[in-house]
């Protein structure tokens, strides 16, 4: 299988789908001549022309609303948010319109819309460019929310997202755009609502999504050297949510640590912990641990930023606690 970066895999999926389906259009700031501020759409203007690759005015609510209108009348727009932080400007369009139109039209209207962009931090852009919005968007019925961590998944899930008849919040791991991995050629779709066992193990289940999956794989290596076999689960999809894969793993390991970059309160990790206690309470040998971002706006200085996000040491310490080794 060819090896490509997360960035290339993402672009490949969108370009392939634009070739296959001429109802797919793209809107966003600087996505045309400039190729995207994160160089995701580079070359697409030349391939597909300005009618389908639309450089928009700086107006997130306006172009997201336009995309909703397009989606309601048969196009399949992909909206780029320069960063997910800027989606707050379009929150009414996303939450009050895209998410509710099918319901409020009694099923007459569909909104096949993908909104995508970099989520989370780790690249020193501070708190107005750094947000982890999976818990926020995952809260709203009517939206689908995914957070792929690998090049293979970002391609496969983007193909699925574009073909999905409902609005999809596509949260890319911005810090991982340059990471490489094997990506299957062709129509290698990855379904929503199916978590991935990224590493098998028997002693403890480590659960994350997005860039924290890579952190967990490193932690699993460290733990292996200490004789602890960790299973790593990549959620991939926040809504719909795959409880079965988590529960199956916890029934085997009896211990779980959930890791996320976002804040702890009212978060995805909280939901995962609740699901485990609801569905696997009798299998647990220790309380579920959550390792989360610190309750501060993401800071700029490298050392401050590192201090605000989950670290290998914090995760190892949480694992030690659930193993009662402290």
């Amino acid at each position: 299988m060819p090896v490509m970066t997360y960035r290339e895999a993402l672009k490949t999926a969108m370009a392939d789908e634009m070739e296959r389906d001429d109802s797919v259009v793209m809107l966003g700031e600087d996505i045309g001549v400039y190729g995207g501020t994160h160089v995701i759409t580079d070359g697409l203007l030349e391939r597909f022309g300005p009618k389908r690759i639309i450089d928009t005015p700086i107006a997130e609510g306006g172009f997201t609303g336009a995309a909703i209108g397009m989606a309601m009348t048969g196009l399949r727009p992909i909206v780029e948010m320069m960063t997910w932080n800027f989606s707050f400007l379009a929150a009414d369009q996303i939450i009050q319109n895209a998410a509710k139109l099918r319901y409020f039209s009694g099923g007459q209207v569909t909104v096949p819309l993908v909104i995508r962009g970099p989520n989370g931090g780790g690249v020193q852009l501070s708190a107005q460019h750094t947000h982890s919005l999976e818990g926020f968007y995952g809260h709203f019925p009517g939206l689908k929310v995914v957070s792929p961590a690998t090049p293979a998944d970002v391609k496969g899930m983007m193909l699925t997202a574009i073909r999905d008849p409902d609005p999809v919040i596509f949260l890319e791991a911005g810090a991982l755009y340059g990471t490489k991995g094997e990506v299957a050629d062709g129509d290698a779709t990855v379904p929503f609502g199916k978590a991935r066992v990224a590493r098998e193990g028997t002693d403890v289940t480590l659960i994350a999504y997005g860039r924290q999956v890579n952190l967990l794989l490193k932690v699993a290596e460290t733990l292996a050297a200490e004789g602890v076999s960790a299973e790593v689960i990549d959620l991939r999809s926040i809504r719909p949510f795959d409880a079965a894969t988590i529960v199956e793993s916890v029934r085997k390991t009896h211990r779980a640590v959930v890791v996320q970059e976002q804040w702890r309160w009212f978060s995805v990790a909280s939901e995962v912990a609740a699901v485990i206690q609801e569905e696997a309470f009798d299998d647990l040998d220790a309380p579920v641990e959550r390792v989360s971002g610190a309750e501060v706006p993401a800071p700029y200085a490298r050392n401050l930023e590192l201090a605000a996000f989950p670290s290998e040491a914090q995760i190892v310490a949480a694992v030690q606690r659930v193993l009662y080794r402290t």
Partner: protein, 378 residues
Amino acid sequence: MATETGPAPTGAIQGAFQAGVVPQDGAAAFRAPLDHVDVGAGTITASVAPASAGDGGLDHETLREMYRFVALARALDERIWQLNRAGRAPFVVSGQGHEAALVGAGFALDRANDVVLPYYRDLALCLVFGLSARDVMMSVLARAPDPMSGGRQMPAHYGSARLRIVSSSSVVASQLPHATGTAYAAKLRGTGQVSLACFGEGAASKGDFHEACNFAGIHRLPVVFFCENNRYAISVPQSLQMAIDNVADRAAGYGFPGVVVDGTDLLAVHRAVGEAAARARRGEGPTLVEAKVYRFHPHTSDDDDRTYRSQDEVKAWRAWDPLARFEARLREVGALDDRTRAEIAAGVAAEVEAATDAAEAAPFPDPATFDRYVYDGG
């Protein structure tokens, strides 16, 4: 509420209100819908559509059809208020006073092809585009056959995919960006469709209005922005909503024409929107048409308009009741007489009655279906 002790929003309005003078945003007295369009001062950039004359070039059959829609919208609106006051309809959003503008606009479009994005006062437009009184009443009473949403959305949030009436949100102006999207899709695919996007003057304060007009101007989209300026956003008068007389004046800033029209003159609106739609179809881009109208009733059944406008003002505007004006015009040109008027009135009354009966006899939605339509296949 205008109080003796509270701070006045502006001296002129408050003073006029207390003195019992019609508070026409500071003007001394009310005369006609276009009185405050200060053409002579040279402050406006919009053009003013001329008043209509005669039959507007339409055959009598079409004129009577238009009249019937105005009368039907009025009768249906009145019935919904009655049901509300009798405790049988939970909520009313009224469009009385807007009907002629909406019927004029609707008839100016291709009703078999164009796309409309109404807001909650646009009952008359939706009737013109094919919703029936029965459809509307099912929604008002939240019954299972409600074709808008199956009892999920509030009344007056019209939507029919089949009739190209785009479902909208309660949040004002949020439909305007959608209209740029429907117009963009039409242009990309060459469908020849024009999108008519309706909103009130209050919605023109929203960022969505600006962002939509800007986008539509840039891409010269086939869209008509149709502002129904009824002078109040719930209680807030136009003078506290904007520092200018005409929403249409803003069109110049987006690179397309703005037109002010007397919204109580059905045929004047018909011509203004017709010209805007023709311009859009020729690929020349958007137009902002602002119809000056007046809302005769409170904002909704939850509003008491006596707290913010004098009943003298409401009474003065009744002289420009669009239904009465259009009826007088039709009589003048010989398109309506006592007999045809009575026939239409009887037909409308029967339709409203049948719609009410059908809706009251219809079942409520099955509670087991409450979570249907959240996602595809759900």
